[in-house]
Symmetry: C2
Subunit: 249 residues, 2 copies
Amino acid sequence: MRIGEIAALVGVTSRAVRHYHHIGLLPEPARQANGYRAYTVREAVLLARIRRLTEIGLSLDEVRDVLADDAGRELGEVLAELDADLARQEREIQERRQVLAALLEAPLTSDGPLSPALAALLDHAPATTSPAAAKDREHLALLDAAGDGAGAELFAALRPLAENPGVLALYERLDALEGAGADDPRIAPLAAELAAAVPDEVLAVIPEGEPSATGLGRVLLDDYPPAQRAVVRRVMEELAERVRRRGTA
Amino acid sequence: MRIGEIAALVGVTSRAVRHYHHIGLLPEPARQANGYRAYTVREAVLLARIRRLTEIGLSLDEVRDVLADDAGRELGEVLAELDADLARQEREIQERRQVLAALLEAPLTSDGPLSPALAALLDHAPATTSPAAAKDREHLALLDAAGDGAGAELFAALRPLAENPGVLALYERLDALEGAGADDPRIAPLAAELAAAVPDEVLAVIPEGEPSATGLGRVLLDDYPPAQRAVVRRVMEELAERVRRRGTA
DNA sequence: CTTGACCTTGTCGCAGCGTCAACGTTTCTA
DNA sequence: TAGAAACGTTGACGCTGCGACAAGGTCAAG
């Protein structure tokens, strides 16, 4: 038999047969005078075994192990292991499909899929085209993905703020500061009003220490132009002050 | 932020981030004077989106499509497609696990897993250490894997032969011919008795034409030493004769 | 004699990074 | 203050199981 014949007989491609030769899974048969491989029943039987095993789902390495092991016992182990592996994969797929179903249920935001906690928060926030609000949402999405797990509590605590219709005006005032200087007189009053709007529940989940100490806080601040950055910094200072007062009270 | 920081923040490895740069999925940020990449919130938000999407199971190419598409509609399509794909994978895994369960149920032969039809046949054959019988089993396993589908009927038809205790003696006489010449006097009577032992049901599933015409028949014959080959050829001729007689009768 | 269907070896490609290698930078520690 | 540990840089190979191509040689049929 030539390679195409044995391949067709067993139901694999010639390329696969050569591949099995290459990795030493199937011994190379003798050659004809023209250089063609001359296959016998020996190789055909071996190749058929290989195909049956790979069809079940064994890797070529596992097939090699099973074939090398003279005892048929190894096969049982490998199959049991394989079944366990498949069971795990099945669970993973089911979990992912559940996540997918939940995502397809909810309205798709342009920021991609979000955690349920953040999705609930944004769902209750009023629609707006404010760039500052958009930036806020980006920052929240980043916290969401940061995976430190503290996100969910923060999002729940921010719920009253999101439902407060007054924040829209504050966002607009923040937008107005986009090109302003760090010494703009509108900074102080806006920061005061913003800090006042933050509900007490949020204080509990604010990380301690200077925000600029952690890399994330510094980077988030750096994301704003000067005047807006000054506002955000003042708000954070104000909140820190409230935390201290609450601690001593 | 440096690469390690943004990677830890979002929950991927630095290597993955560099990989995303390499394939153009995440834009390269500006560099610091020392050559280090200097990340901002912009990249962090993007990277977080990428991670969420890949976590769901999107390929990097799909992630690129979703991110490139300004409309959030594309995402829905991709997710639906992904869910269909996962459903298909789930079905495949379940099917494979069923096959596995059936295999683990049956006793494991040293020839590896076999089709139910052949397994049933071998299960009813008496235990023997005859080399000729072993060769027969190999040939049957090869037919089993040949996938032409004609195997199952043949195996069913061979059932009476397997259960016939007389075949053991015939196998032993065949074994005795291993080193004999093609003109050995024991060939003719053994062939006659073997052919007589083959049940009529087998005749219906024997492929027509000369066995040496098909590649498989020739190769199977070549697998035997001369005297045994002569026996097998005579048996096949005898069976072909019976087919003809049955056809005209 | 040509055409087409085989065969040969060798190489690249695939997905998504992990893992060296070989080297420069920053930062902590003794 | 020096040295080590822990970062960063680019570049390249490895993994799985072959598919696909290149650039031929071989063989049977028209």
